[in-house]
């Protein structure tokens, strides 16, 4: 192995209430693609911020090419030769690509910068046009701009934080090609992810984090199985779900040619969205987020009740203009992506949060009754295995996975005819995710219709009977899961599906 480029020893960082990093050691060799694998909340991002000088560790040492070093700021990190591409981009939409990059390197002329951008783009196969304004770029293209910006200083170490979470499978491939080329040129890459396949395909070594501690260093991830890596990451292997033949019943949800203007400038307008969903069926909507999923979900849940009359029907009843409470009474329930602050009131107890959508399950009367409410909350906690100190605990005291179990349980327990779930297992640890998926399939088996919106293709393939893809506010034709491939779905995520076909109605 070549010499060590970066060496961390016993790095610890305490935040109020959580020990984000606890005695972490990490070695990155020269010209190595090193993965940092871990669940959401395992401490990956904190560790990267320490390396990049955004936060200072409470304890531990950092060595660069063998010399102890204190990275006081991102600027100091860049002078050392460390660059970072963050998960959330920081580009000015109204400026061009070259102008955005020029902002970061004030000492060079704009022409030099433009030339350098061209040079970097062509030598690393990054299709970036310096003169294009950023607002015209797709997410994948924006990421390339960020990478070019990071490469402007000829870094010796490039850090990428969850770079593929917003990319289509094709865009992921081209990113990998770029990273491999960087490695050929001698640059080390720190690749942060929780996606096992990617790490196995790309990385030379892998450091696994769990609860702020290192649980293992894997020399050649390609030789490991997903199961063995996920054991390191979560401590247990997720259970497999079984597929079953489709037995669809009557149409539960029908959306017909739904057009909806966006409500704010960062939104997406829906264009001719049609779909049909039958009882006992699970339909998945794939796609990179920010393509109209949020808007479609609000229109279905009733939070945005502007839809044209008769464009949304639940069991034949027109619900396009009904408010969420009315839709709930008719049997439509919704689990939004934001569990804290939308599906629950953070400071309210689980009891009060049960009341949020379950008023109908409680006795009527002028005054609210504590006893039946507490009993209902406790039933949910027991039945769905929510780990909490009791029904009086505030929602914000629960971990992501436990809160999701509570929210899914709350809606499921009402025996909905149609359950709409957004990102059912986003930010949830793998064990809880498997349990949540199992619960969803039980609901389907009981004859309910399910609509699942997710960015995780694996999850959709596992849960759904058929799939459709959302891109630019439109919905692709519908595919049975058996006929769908990742490559095809990935292509459609860019909006490239054959036109003039039947919209996404069941066959």
């Amino acid at each position: 192995m070549a010499g060590l480029r970066l060496e961390l020893q016993n790095i610890s960082k305490q935040y109020p209430g959580v020990r984000a990093n606890d005695g972490i050691c990490l070695e990155v060799a020269e010209a190595e693609i090193h993965a940092v694998l871990g669940e959401n909340g395992a401490g990956k991002s904190t560790l990267m911020k320490i390396i990049y000088g955004v936060v200072q560790p409470d304890a531990g040492t950092l060595a660069w090419h063998g010399k102890p070093m204190r990275v006081a700021s991102p600027e100091a990190a860049r002078r050392l030769g460390i660059s970072m591409v963050f998960q959330h981009f920081s580009l000015f939409e109204t400026l061009t690509v070259a102008e955005n990059i020029w902002l970061g390197v004030a000492d060079k002329s704009r022409a030099t910068v433009t030339a350098r951008v061209r040079e970097l783009a062509s030598s690393y196969g990054l299709a970036v046009e310096p003169e294009r304004p950023v607002h015209t770029l797709s997410v994948g293209e924006r990421q390339r701009v960020e990478i070019v910006r990071a490469l402007m200083t000829d870094p010796k170490l490039l850090i990428l934080d969850e770079p593929t979470s917003v990319l289509t499978p094709q865009a992921v491939e081209s990113l990998f090609a770029t990273l491999r080329q960087l490695k050929q040129g001698g640059c080390s890459v720190l690749y942060i992810s929780h996606k096992l396949d990617e790490i196995r395909a790309l990385c030379d070594r892998c450091t696994v984090l769990r609860d702020g501690k290192v649980t293992g260093v894997v020399a050649n991830p390609a030789r490991e199985s997903n199961a063995s890596l996920s054991r390191l990451m979560i401590g247990a292997e997720p259970a497999k779900l079984e597929q079953r033949p489709l037995e669809a019943g009557a149409v539960v949800l029908a959306v017909r040619q739904l057009d909806l203007e966006k409500q704010d400038e960062f939104g997406v307008s829906l264009r001719g969205v049609s779909l049909e969903l039958r009882a006992g069926e699970v339909l998945g909507i794939a796609g990179v987020s920010g393509n109209g999923q949020k808007e479609l979900l609000s229109a279905l849940s009733g939070e945005d009740a502007r839809a044209r009359p008769r464009s949304i029907e639940l069991e034949g009843a027109d619900i396009s203009r009904a408010d969420p409470a009315r839709r709930r009474a008719l049997g439509l329930r919704f689990v939004p992506e934001e569990r804290l602050g939308r599906a629950t009131v953070p400071s309210h107890s689980l009891e009060k949060n049960t009341l949020l959508t379950r008023k109908d399950s409680l006795p009527n009367g002028l005054l609210l009754q504590q006893k039946p409410l507490r009993a209902l909350a406790q039933t949910l906690i027991e039945r769905f295995g929510v780990k909490t100190r009791g029904s009086a605990a505030p929602a914000q005291s629960l971990s992501g996975g436990n809160l999701q179990r509570f929210v899914v349980g709350r809606e499921l327990d009402a025996k909905p005819k149609l359950l709409i779930v957004a990102q059912p297992t986003w930010g949830v640890d793998v064990g809880a995710a498997a349990q949540i998926r199992r619960t969803l399939l039980e609901l389907r088996d009981a004859g309910s219709a399910l609509l699942v919106v997710s960015e995780e293709l694996d999850e959709l393939f596992e849960l759904c009977d058929s799939l459709t893809v959302m891109a630019n506010g439109r919905l692709s034709p519908r595919l049975r899961v058996a006929d769908a491939t990742r490559a095809l779905i990935g292509e459609w995520m860019s909006g490239l599906w054959p036109d003039r076909e039947e919209p996404a109605c069941s066959s």
């Binding site: 109020p16 849940s301 939308r342 599906a343 629950t344 009131v345 002028l366 609210l368």
Partner: protein
């Protein structure tokens, strides 16, 4: 050198004690102020904290101040809990007194004492009407309710001034801007002989009780709470923010209007330009010092009334300036804000700024 860092978990005890600590702080600053003004601090504190409760008559006076403050602050707490920033309770108070006067002036000496109910009801409606203007403009045109409600206070003052200078002026009132003294059937009767306290005092505990039940035990109160804490969750659940806006504004407008009606039909006994004393603004402080909670607001309204009375006493007996009441209110509010800041954060000494070892 110093940095405020958030505490991991703010202590519940500390947040309950904060108002008491703030009060103590206000006292210390008050003592300092009196010493600087060359007055005997003990004598001054006596004016504020002993004189208002030393005998039944004094307590009666206290109740006359505390009742309107409490009624208005109760309504405002509900508004503020729901993120509806009604700053114009003073205007709603004025319209309440105007509405009540409209009915009272129509009375004759032979009118039934039941007319008093009409007087109070007209006050409630007047306050609601004024608050409804704010609600309508906010609902229909997205006009900022802080500005609208505040500016409507000045409109209300002009309206009051026009009425008592013009159509409602007492013909035998030596041209003073005031109406006739209300006739007996439209006056709120005294509650205890020998004091000025009247039956209006009873609206205060009743209001506290009803509002506590409304907020804690009804679904409508729960909806308002959710809307205030987490608008997205309220939208998700289908609780309309529009109905929260109207409910809270009408409720607080009605309560402020009732306070206005009790004022003209009670201790003042007529409508004059001197009726609005700033209760509507002081009640904002009362609401926050009382933690937007019905019981807390009860305590803080009594405290604020002591400041009013103490301020008047120290004016007449110690020759302190009139603005002393306002100074005390301000001191209390700022002490409370300071205490709240430290309940949620702590001060950390970060050392004198030294340069970090530079990287080459």
């Amino acid at each position: 050198m110093f940095k405020l860092v958030p505490r991991a978990e703010p202590s519940r005890l500390a947040s309950l004690l904060a108002p008491l600590v703030a009060l103590a702080l206000t006292l210390c600053l008050g003592v300092l102020l009196f010493v600087l003004l060359g007055k005997d601090p003990l004598r001054a504190l006596e004016m504020f904290f002993w004189e208002p409760i030393k005998n039944l008559r004094a307590v009666g006076e206290l109740s006359i101040k505390a009742t309107p403050l409490l009624l208005i602050a109760l309504g405002l707490s509900v508004c503020f809990r729901s993120n509806v920033w009604n700053i114009g309770a003073e205007g709603q108070f004025i319209l309440g007194s105007v509405g009540a006067s409209a009915v009272a002036l129509a009375a004759t000496p032979e009118s039934s004492p039941l007319l008093l109910a009409g007087v109070l009801l007209a006050g409630v409606l007047g306050g609601m009407l004024w608050a409804a203007l704010t609600a309508f403009l906010r609902d229909r045109f997205h006009a900022n309710e802080i500005l609208v409600s505040l500016m409507l206070v000045y409109v209300a003052e002009q309206l009051l001034s026009y009425l008592v200078h013009g159509p409602w002026k007492d013909p035998n009132g030596y041209n003073f801007p005031q109406t006739i003294t209300f006739l007996e059937p439209t006056r709120v009767p005294r509650l205890v002989a020998g004091t000025r306290a009247n039956w209006g005092l009873l609206t205060a505990p009743l209001g506290v009780l009803l509002l506590s039940v409304f907020l804690r035990r009804t679904h409508a109160g729960y909806k308002l709470e959710v809307g205030g804490l987490s608008p997205l969750a309220a939208r998700y659940a289908g609780f309309s923010s529009q109905s929260a806006l109207w409910t809270t504004l009408l409720l607080s407008g009605g309560l402020a209007g009732l306070a206005g009606a009790l004022e003209v039909a009670g201790p003042v006994g007529q409508l004059t330009t001197q009726v609005p004393l700033g209760y509507g603004f002081a009640a904002i402080i009362v609401a926050f010092v009382g933690r937007l909670d019905p019981v807390g607001v009860t305590l803080s309204s009594v405290l604020m009334s002591m400041f009013y009375i103490g301020g008047e006493m120290s004016q007449s007996r110690l020759g302190l300036p009139k603005s002393i009441t306002g100074v005390f209110q301000g001191l209390l509010l700022f002490s409370l804000l300071t205490c709240d800041t430290f309940v949620e954060r702590r001060l950390r000494f970060t050392g004198f700024r030294r340069s970090a070892p530079r990287v080459p």
